[in-house]
Subunit: 332 residues, 4 copies
């Protein structure tokens, strides 16, 4: 359950209550919030006097539930907001990986030319083979910092594992937790303490319940800036790399108070399908998109088959505001 | 491989060649078409003189492949065309099942009021339990015939199994093969011989390869009027009934020469998600849609949770032409 | 619910009650059994006087539930019994398809030489492509009848679809319903009326709930001789053809009163894995096995990669009694 | 490809070659081994003089392939060996989590009483909810060290994420990498450098290809002591927690040179199915087993439903040597 304590209770009393009810506890700027297992359905009577509000749930989706907060949580990304009353659908694009100064600069300039404010690119790549390109690491992060300074872009990049979480968190504006790391509590806890927006990708073998519960690890440490990103789940179908789960997105929009982004590039795995899928994603009424683009996909060191070249991306991007407007949203 | 014979070859010679190369054979109105295994890569030299054109493939997706026919096959449904150079996206709606004269008449009148030309409703229901409503059977087909006559609608209804294939084929304008019957050769062969448009739903456990190969059973009997309908596949996710596979739709549009329809109602399983998903489907640039609607979903004898009431359907339907137009298509 | 009526109630009264409670009804040799939806939890009070026993369930697994019959149902196959108090594990082997007199006779003689009493072989093959071998049809059934007569074997063969159900049912000793036909009510109803033992394979996309409910279609028509056969489900893994679901078998043994057979050949798809998997199946304490064997697998017209040659099968078969004995069972 | 260099080449020359061919490099005690992408099919001609042997592969399963080493790699666990020419099947049991001194001591004493030499128990639990028991952490590791000292047991425990990898590696005899951490390169690299036996569990959404490639991360750092553990994959079936993939085990035994263990407890999720499944696993001819046992499962703080009580475990354990012996193996 979630418990809102009354104002003005002393810190040590707050800690005592949290301890007694086995709850995690954080201060959200206004209120001391206590959260314990959803199996707990009532506050012990001797603590009732300290309680302002309480919320009962039927599963451990609690802080993320629309039964707790009806409205989508607001998240500020640079000068733009997503979630809350905003009608923005935010485009994020860039290459799979930072590969060189020249390559990432081409991408940054391309984003700027289209008015796209966030640049994505991986530096620590969670490859499935040790014998392929593993990313430029901290050197890549430094290049991204340069792009931020020179082109005025926001930067999103991925933490691969907990051993370099701090380096990535310090370097980026939005912290990305990748699909393979979704369950990683070392990362989730660092994100919870970071105070930065976190884009949490769904593990391709993770249920929606587990996905949102991974967000609860971050939320329960007091960081409410979590974006959920569906990027395709693993099914029996192998003609495409993964299967984008838009039914799941419909569920998340209905039940969960976090903004939802979509990454059709990783789901499809092939550039030819990305434009149609991107338009479908926009028509779902979502908060944002991650699309992979690259100056020369055929030479890319990772995900070569699914990245759009700049011409294809440009053509696609032109078609999105029309769809967004039709459903009362604004493509940014 | 597919072999087009030259014009004017005697029927018995055609049969001799087909037999010799172990091929299925049909006359498509212009040409004698022979199709045998894709493992066959050449015509025996002593038959070469009879061959006009030949097409080699790397799998048994042959007649349905865009490597055979580049353009989507045209299908005439009443006075409307889908596929080919048409930009139509055709809406089909109606209840899961025919339940009574009153119910189906309410649905037919509703369709007419919105200018929707095709009415869907099942009479032989492939339920997973023998202890639930199994459909009105031939009585239901008779009610659908009444609706056609009175409201000027085209009728689509499903064959559950081969034991009543003729009855359904005779009664409908579009023959539906349901997801659970997708592999049923008794049905597929009847459809191949029927000369009527066939809407073939993807089995929820079927790969895209198997799905299109099921269409090949129909195509190879000379009936080219096959529509593929994606309706959700079974995955590990259980918050929604199935997972609609739009990545798979992107594949079908790229590689297969058959029109593609989508059924988000069965995929989602819950009415709340159907409007967003329907809009996403339209934005994919597809040829048609099946959406379940019912005058009073809460009283429905099957699929109660996923059918839209008339008000919700009407609101949804209003939003679709705008999206269709944005991508150069026309909602009908 | 399931209702056992008292003895001696007139047929027309039985029919009246069944009709009033919307139940299927059959006479099991001793009792009139009525079964309706599991949502029904009580008999109307004015019928209570006719009721001997009633059984309440939480899902439409009713006649097949161990909450109805605690002991596994007995099934007589030739002179052998499986299920009930029998400790028999019955081996069934033979080729994927009947291909010729010579081939099937080699198989029949091989079975006889090992003391294996049941011969399996398909005549109507549910292939996924129309351009491959579709089976010998009725000619194949005639060859199987010859083998029965000459070698004293029981015969099991598959119904592909409802259009030839009667032919197969008449020709065999055990009716096989294949994985792709598991939901086929045309077939299931014919099986229910047949009075013959039915081996029902699990659809590779079917849940255990659906699998057992398919058996309920047969049971609710009064045929209690249903064997469940797990043969692999479709998962994301593609190194093997399917994934044999032994966890599911553990569930079936615990909750369902029908004998359970296993078919590791179709699950694995490659002969190299069949011996280890077969031994694992026997160690599960199951009632029977289907293993594909062929005099020359490399020349087989279907399933070439997964059939064992006679030498391999013979070596495997020798190892099974030891394992069966260890767990108190008897390999036959 | 894998390259074995000739003996006696200077370290700086080895490094130069490795660098030039973009290979990982380690010394296996006898030979300098270089491994780079399987797409590389030949050594540059000017390095040929340094090459003793080279091995070409069609995927990045290289060091783990039976095409490299035909025999299963040997792994020493305390005084017992698994793999290589050993016929041992090693039982590991213990509770899901260390919960208290009393609980873990009961488990340790139980293992000792049955002659089971390895104790499993988690200290850092990768729970899917932040609101449940997260494990005793380093306090738990200290208790396990006590059990090793007092009862002469080997200890296996799990690394949850890279933030505490060193602590766990230092404390245990076998390092466990759990299913949710299978892709975690932070952990895999620490394991590669650790010099200790590593039990790597298959991610429940991971293909066999990915699973073995995760092992390659460890092997390519020079640690050849990797055990693969199949523990159930996620499928559409929900009556059981996961689906144990014995077809996959057959594949691993055929193609991969690492010992294979099985964990039927996590696959099944329910104690009732564990005995049958354990016997099936033993009959597969595997190298070892992980079974969860607990002095009082109903009070367990994690995985309460799947742990066996001591009586059930004892009864099960008695039945295993018989099966093992039947197939020429020895249960230890």
């Amino acid at each position: 359950m979630i418990i809102h304590l009354k104002e003005g209770i002393a810190e040590n009393k707050v800690a005592e209550i949290a301890d007694a009810v086995e709850a995690l506890c954080f201060f959200d700027g206004i209120t001391h919030v206590l959260v314990n297992s959803s199996k707990v359905k009532a506050v012990p009577s001797h603590f009732e006097e300290f309680v302002d509000q309480q919320f009962i749930f039927d599963s451990d989706i609690q802080l993320a539930s629309r039964d707790y907060l009806k409205e989508t949580r607001p998240i500020q990304i640079g000068k733009n907001q997503v979630g809350s009353k905003s009608i923005n659908t935010l485009m994020i694009t860039g290459p799979c990986s930072v590969e060189s100064q020249e390559q990432i600069e081409a991408c940054a300039a391309f984003n700027q030319s289209l008015g796209i404010s966030v640049l994505r690119a991986g530096c620590f790549k969670p490859r499935t083979s040790p014998y392929t390109f593993q990313g430029m690491g901290e050197e890549g992060l430094a290049l991204l910092a340069e792009m931020r300074a020179k082109y005025g872009l926001q930067i999103i990049s991925e933490i691969r594992d907990a051993s370099h979480a701090d380096e990535v968190i310090n370097a980026v504006d939005i912290v990305q937790v990748g699909a393979k790391a979704m369950y990683d509590q070392g990362i989730l806890r660092k994100c919870g303490e970071s105070g930065k927006p976190v884009l949490l990708k769904r593990g391709f073998g993770a249920t929606l319940q587990e996905f949102v519960q991974a967000a609860e690890f971050i939320l329960s440490l007091g960081n409410g800036q979590v974006i959920l990103c569906e990027r395709g789940i693993r099914t029996f179908e192998t003609k495409t790399r993964f299967t984008i789960d838009l039914c799941g997105v419909a569920y998340l929009k209905e039940r969960v108070n976090l903004p939802v982004f979509l990454d059709p590039s990783h789901a499809m795995g092939y550039a030819y399908g990305v434009p149609d899928l991107t338009r479908a994603c926009v028509a779902m009424g979502i908060d944002g998109l991650l699309i992979e683009s690259h100056p020369d996909p055929s030479s890319a060191l990772s995900d070569a088959s699914q990245q759009l070249d700049f011409e294809s991306f440009g053509k696609l991007f032109e078609t999105l505001p029309g769809i967004a407007n039709t459903i009362g949203r604004n493509m940014i």
